[in-house]
């Protein structure tokens, strides 16, 4: 006899389906990001890092690792959800979920959590690899955990948004290549915005990912270029707004129901 209500069983099944999908292709979904992180740390840390001065009081390789962990969570959360939803839309397999008694909120959150969990797993593996290779401090765990969770949920919800809207894989690839990657790379994963000449330093402050990276870096290294409390508050508000927008789209059925 299960102790769960039908509604809980439904939600769990929806989340399990999303997790099952990325676990079935784990060489691609978990293995590739692991290799990617190893290469970043090797190239930027070992090869280039030796020729770069300390940044924010730490070795260059230590400086970039928080950004790499955040990047791993963000890109995987986004890629998982956008691809999973689009693939199911193209097969019309998503009709099985859409015609079920699951509520719009359950459907939306289950899709979001699929990518969120994949991002968390990849970020955990990335952190594990980094800990094996370098001495990585964790200065403010109470900021780090909510910061990473908020960043993960932001990109998971962004993946849901793009996946629902997309009609072909090109739409997802365009968003990933021309929106996500530039925002992340220009957000300061590999450098400090304070080192940039004007106007680039100022322009960087308009990039929301800059604040996300800075939050995560603060959690690990204890140093920050921005107001931590304000960044957390604004990030929470943005995640809330994006979640509500996605919920509205699932309720109305835009791009999901004809």
């Amino acid at each position: 006899m299960s102790g769960m209500s039908p509604s809980q069983i439904r939600f769990l099944a929806l989340v399990r389906r999303e997790v099952s999908r990325f676990m079935k292709i784990k060489r691609q979904t978990l293995g590739a990001p692991l290799l990617e992180t190893f290469l970043y740390i090797s190239v930027f840390g070992a090869a280039l890092g030796a020729r770069i001065d300390k940044l924010q009081g730490v070795d260059y390789v230590v400086f970039i690792v928080p950004g790499l962990i955040m990047m791993a969570w963000a890109t995987n959360a986004f890629a998982n959800n956008s691809s999973s939803i689009l693939q199911q839309k193209m097969e019309r397999a998503i009709d099985d979920q859409l015609s079920s008694p699951a509520s719009p909120a359950q459907l939306m959150m289950a899709f979001a959590l699929g990518g969120f969990i994949r991002g968390a797993v990849v970020a955990a593996i990335t952190t594990g690899v980094a800990l094996l290779l370098i001495d990585l401090p964790v200065e403010h765990v109470l900021v780090l955990i909510p910061a990473l969770a908020l960043v993960g949920m932001f990109f998971a919800q962004l993946g849901v948004f793009i996946g629902v809207r997309a009609e072909q894989f090109d739409d997802v690839a365009v968003a990933q290549t021309f929106l996500l990657q530039p925002l992340i790379f220009l957000g300061g994963v590999f450098y400090s915005a304070e080192l940039l000449p004007e106007p680039w330093s100022t322009i960087t402050h308009f990039n929301p990912v800059y604040y996300m990276i800075d939050l995560v870096r603060y959690g690990f290294l204890g140093t920050s270029e921005t107001n931590v409390a304000a960044s957390l508050a604004i990030l929470t508000a943005i995640v809330g707004a994006l979640t509500l927008l996605n919920l509205h789209r699932f309720r109305v059925g835009t791009h999901l129901r004809s």
Binding site: M1, S2, M4, S5, P6, S7, I9, R10, L12, A13, L14, R16, R17, S20, R21, K24, I25, Q87, Q88, E91, R92, A93, D95, D96, Q97, L98, S99, S100, P101, A102, S103, P104, G253, R257, S258
Partner: protein, 301 residues
Amino acid sequence: MVFAPDPAEDGPPPTGPADVPALQATDVAKRYPTGVEALRGVSLRIEAGGFLGLLGPNGAGKSTLISCITGLARPTAGSIEVFGHDALGHDPEARIAVGLAPQDINLDWFLTVEETLDFHGGYFGMPKRERRARTEELLEAFSLTDKRDQRTRTLSGGMKRRVVLARALMHRPRLLILDEPTAGVDVELRLELWHAVQQINAEGTAILLTTHYLEEAEQLCDRIAFIDGGRIVGEGTSAELAAAHGVETLEDAYLSLVGRHELSRQGGILGAATAAGLDPEELRRARAAGARDEAADGTGR
């Protein structure tokens, strides 16, 4: 009782008086953003345990109506109730009561046959133990047991069709919707599916079947509705429909309703005469005389 709804296992059944129909669609209209009016005031009723065949040409509105019933499309007007529950809102009881086997195979490529059934049961709130038992029943009933660990994308077309039907039955729906279930399947599988569908209906599940095969509808359904241009243009038993149009077969009644009398296998004349309000024999004689005249003056082709 492999196919029958089993409220005892699923918890309390959806409530409602015994005479509540399985499906009551009233004045359902659907206009797509492109301006296409797929449904223009469709009203349809299926009694609990009934078996209705919905026939119509391509683009008549059959699949759109099914999408509206299952929540996959939003009607622009009208109401749809499934066992008395509003199917247009997010009433879980309306969803739980319906099982859908769509026209196009829409199986999840990433899942095995067993997972397909198990996840579907989960989406419908079935506890694990019940899902496991039901999966075994359906794998056995549809001869899928030895394919249980196979990914759905690697199955043959016929096997995929079986999985789609098994999935639709997984949560023991009280209204089963079959959208052209035998399109493109071989004779053997078609007969197997007919047998299964008859058994499902005999065990108390109401069925809405769309098909292009008139003999399929005649063989299986209690009642038949014709849909054309987004409207229900005729409804009754096969005999009633034929009689109402002064023809002998369901096929001719169908052709008459969709305005294609000339395609009648009864000679075309019968349908044409009926449509024109003429005596078929008189028209046949007139055509024969015309053909002789054409042959005589050399204009016959």
